[in-house]
Every structure is written in C-alpha cells, then in structure tokens.
C-alpha cells in the first residue's frame, strides 16, 4: 500500500499546484446549485424534502467531472503506463486514485453542503454529525465505482460521453440510498435512516472490493 500512498500524494501535489480539479468542480457545483434551487423556487417548508435531491444531483455531476479529470492526468504522456511498469500491484494504483478522488470530492462537499443550507434556508448544524456520515458513505461509494469506470473510459475516444453512460445507471442504487438517508437525517436523525445507510454500506463494500479485484484487468491490454 506504499505505492497507493505515493500515488495519492502525487495527485494531491499536482492538484495543489494547478488547482484545476478543485476550481472546476467548485464552479460547476455552485452553478448547478443555483440552477436547481432557482428552477424549483421552493417555499421554505418544502426545503427539507427538496434539499437531498439538490445536494446529491449536484454531487453526482460535479463528481463525474472531478473523477474524470483525475484520470486524464494519467493519460497525458501515457503516465498510466508509467505506473503499470513500476513494481506495484495495480490494486495499489486503484487505491491511490480512489483516495485522491475521495479527497477531492470531500472538498467539494465541504463547499456545496453549506451552500445547500444557505440557498434552501435550512439549518444543518443540528444534524451535521449524522449528515457527515451519509456524505462520507455517498462520497466513498461514488468514488469507488467512478474510479474503476474512469480507468475504463479514459482509454476510449468518446471518454467524456462514455463515463456518464457507463456510470450513471450503476449509480442509481447509491443515489436512491443517499437521497433517502439524507431525507431521513433532515427529518430526525440517523436512526430513521438505518435501511438506507445499510444500502450505502453494502454499495461501498461491493464496489470497493470489485474495483480492487478488477482494476488490473481494466488497465492492462
């Protein structure tokens, strides 16, 4: 796992230097939030019902952009091949890229969640600990699946189209789980979200293990 750490640090170092990934997902996240809240024009009493779908729709589309960019780093100068000729397990490459994606998405969530509260006039502080758990589970599950599929799509010509086409259908269970869990958390706390959280944990475990096992077959010709 030392290799994973080296790759994770490299990705953070490049991101820190260029800030291209963070800035693009933050701008897109802000725009999506504005569009979705303005389009709904919801009264304050409808906000708790609306906030979960606004939050996770924003997360989904900005996350796609962030994860895709993370793998485009490896495409330039055929850097992915540089990783594959090194003496590390391909699974370590997956873990390194997954960790970097989780970190990028977490930064995006830190930015987007307060804005959802602001735009929809919701006080999120009382439910923040429970909400953080749901956010973390949603983040990890999305990144686990998206990292695997980004590795597939980065090698094809129509990669910008291919990643959403491959990924979005498989993300439906995660989207249902996160929206349901967030709605329950906003209504009363994590105790109400047990079923949805179970779905999220199962999703995270299944696709993290699948990514770990399949990554070597995905990235090698």
């Amino acid at each position: 796992m030392r290799g994973a750490l080296v790759i994770f640090r490299k990705d953070l170092s490049i991101e820190w230097r260029t800030r291209e990934g963070v800035s693009s997902v933050l701008v897109l996240g802000l725009l999506l939030l504005v569009v979705l809240t303005v389009a709904h024009d919801a009264p304050p009493e409808a906000a708790p019902a609306l906030a979960p779908s606004v939050l996770w729709a924003t997360f989904l589309f900005t996350g796609l952009l962030g994860v895709q960019r993370g793998f485009l780093l490896e495409r330039e100068n055929d850097c992915l091949a540089g990783l594959l000729v090194s003496p590390i397990d391909p699974a370590a490459i997956y873990v390194g890229k997954l960790s970097a994606n989780v970190a990028l998405l977490a930064v995006m969530q830190l930015f987007v969640v307060p804005l959802v509260g602001l735009f929809l006039h919701l006080d999120l502080m009382p439910v923040l600990p429970a909400l953080l758990i749901v956010l973390a589970l949603g983040n990890f599950g999305f990144a686990a699946l998206a990292t695997l599929f980004a590795a597939i799509s980065v090698r094809v010509r129509a990669r910008e189209v291919m990643l959403p086409l491959l990924l979005l259908p498989l993300l439906v269970p995660l989207l249902i789980g996160t929206v349901s869990a967030t709605r329950s958390v906003l209504a009363g706390g994590l105790a109400l979200a047990t079923d949805a959280v179970t779905v999220l944990v199962a999703f995270d475990v299944i696709f993290a293990v699948a990514g770990w096992l399949l990554f070597a077959y995905v990235v090698r010709d």
Binding site: S13, I14, N77, A81, V85, S86, P87
Partner: protein, 246 residues
C-alpha cells in the same frame, strides 16, 4: 550528460527469452511469432520498417501488453504472472515520457524513485538530473521542456532504478549529437557491467557502434539476426530483408 554509478551484475539466466510471440489487434497479427533470446551483457538493436511491430514487441517485453500466443520468460520467470518484483528489474523507455507535465523533472524522478523504492533516492535523482544535463531545468515543470529535454528526462527515468534489462524505444530520438554520444557511452558502460539492452531505432549510424547484435523485424517476425557489424553491413542486410520480403 555526466557519470552515474552502475551496480555490478552476477551470472544469471538469460534476461529475455521469447518463443513464438504473437500479438494481434482486432484479428491483425502485428507480431507473428517472434523468437528471440537476449543474454546479459549484450546490446541488441532491433531494426525494422514502420509498422514492423518494434514498439509492440517492446511493450510486450515491458509487460504492458499480453502476448496473444507464445511464451515470454524474463529472468527465467514466466511473464504471464508478471509479479511486481519482476518489473523492478526492467527499465522501459517508450515514445512518451511517462512524466507528469505539472511536476518538475526532479519531482517526476522522485515520484518514480518512490514507486521503485530506489535507495538514497534524492542522491540518485540529483545524479541522474546532472547526467541528463537537467540540473537547472530539473526544477521547472516539464510542460515547458523541449522535445530533447523530455527525452533526456525519460531516459533518466528508465535508468533510475538501475534495471537489469533495459528496453529502449527510439532512445536517440530528439537528442542533440552531444547527448547521443553521452547516451552511447552510458549504454556501453551498462552492457559491460552485465546489463542486457534491447533498443529499437531507425538510426543505423548511432546503433551500430554500440550493438553487439542486430535483429531485423519484418512483418511481425525476426527476419535476420546479425552479429556485431558496421552500419554499412547492417544497412545492406536491412535493405535485402525489406526488399526481399523475407
């Protein structure tokens, strides 16, 4: 490009044995049964016209492509298993540099040194940057490097972990005459230290003086293997193979 220490090598099985290697893309056989053995302490120049399969063959040797058929053994280890420890013994220079444009030359080499667990990595990186003539430029992002500087950095990356088998795809590409001479000296020193080197090139004048054998790849097969010869003899043999369609 200056001097960098080379580790000594002991006796061992042949670094590379290929038997009947086939690689097909969408039904087209780019490699149509390559048989080749490379011993420690030799430099094999691999020649061939465009599309002969040189780059594909090197990518198979570098464990980036799986052969469709045939057998490849590296250091007596079946390449199908491709254990990480085996990749530590290979150094591969491709057409692309494998380096991140937003990192400096030094940062790129340090990153690869960490992946390969190179001991005394900082000293090794500094030595290779000096060898490549990139002491100053090595602190700048490589996005601003010229073609030749990128090639020198890529060579430094391939040499970083002092591999036992060097696979060099067009190593002289983009280099100025002084850098070519330094690279030739380096490759000769590595060969004398027991490393095995396979290089592809179209530049007979630069490859002939350092090659101990020359193989001509044509239509996916090794059409001819020559012992150490002058560039004119190699060129004549090359023309005969390509014109004859052997």
């Amino acid at each position: 490009m200056g001097d960098v220490g080379i580790r000594g090598a002991g006796g061992a099985p042949p670094p590379l044995v290929a038997e009947g290697l086939v690689r097909a893309y969408a039904g087209v056989r780019v490699l149509a049964g390559v048989d080749l053995t490379v011993e420690a302490g030799e430099t094999l120049a691999l020649l061939g016209p465009n599309g002969a399969g040189k780059t594909t063959l090197l990518r198979v040797f570098a464990l980036l492509l799986r052969p469709s058929a045939g057998r490849l053994a590296l250091f007596d280890v079946d390449a199908r298993s491709a254990p990480p420890a085996l990749r530590r013994r290979l150094g591969y220079l491709a057409h692309e540099s494998f380096c991140y444009p937003d990192l400096s030359g030094a940062e790129n080499l340090t990153f690869h040194a960490r992946l390969f667990r190179v001991p005394a990595a900082r000293e090794r990186v500094d030595a290779l940057l000096a060898w490549a003539g990139l002491e100053t430029a090595g602190r700048r992002p490589i996005r601003f490097y010229s073609r030749g500087m990128s090639q020198r950095l890529a060579l430094a990356r391939a040499l970083l972990h002092d591999p036992d088998l060097l696979l060099l795809d067009e190593p002289f590409s983009g280099l100025d005459p002084a850098a070519v001479e330094t690279l030739q000296e380096r490759l000769v020193a590595l060969r004398k230290a027991g490393r095995a080197i396979v290089l592809t090139t179209h530049d007979l004048d630069r490859a002939a003086p350092i090659a101990t054998r020359t193989a001509i790849l044509h239509r996916g097969r090794i059409a001819s293997v020559l012992d150490s010869r002058g560039a004119d003899d190699v060129a004549a043999a090359y023309r005969a193979v390509v014109a004859g369609g052997r």
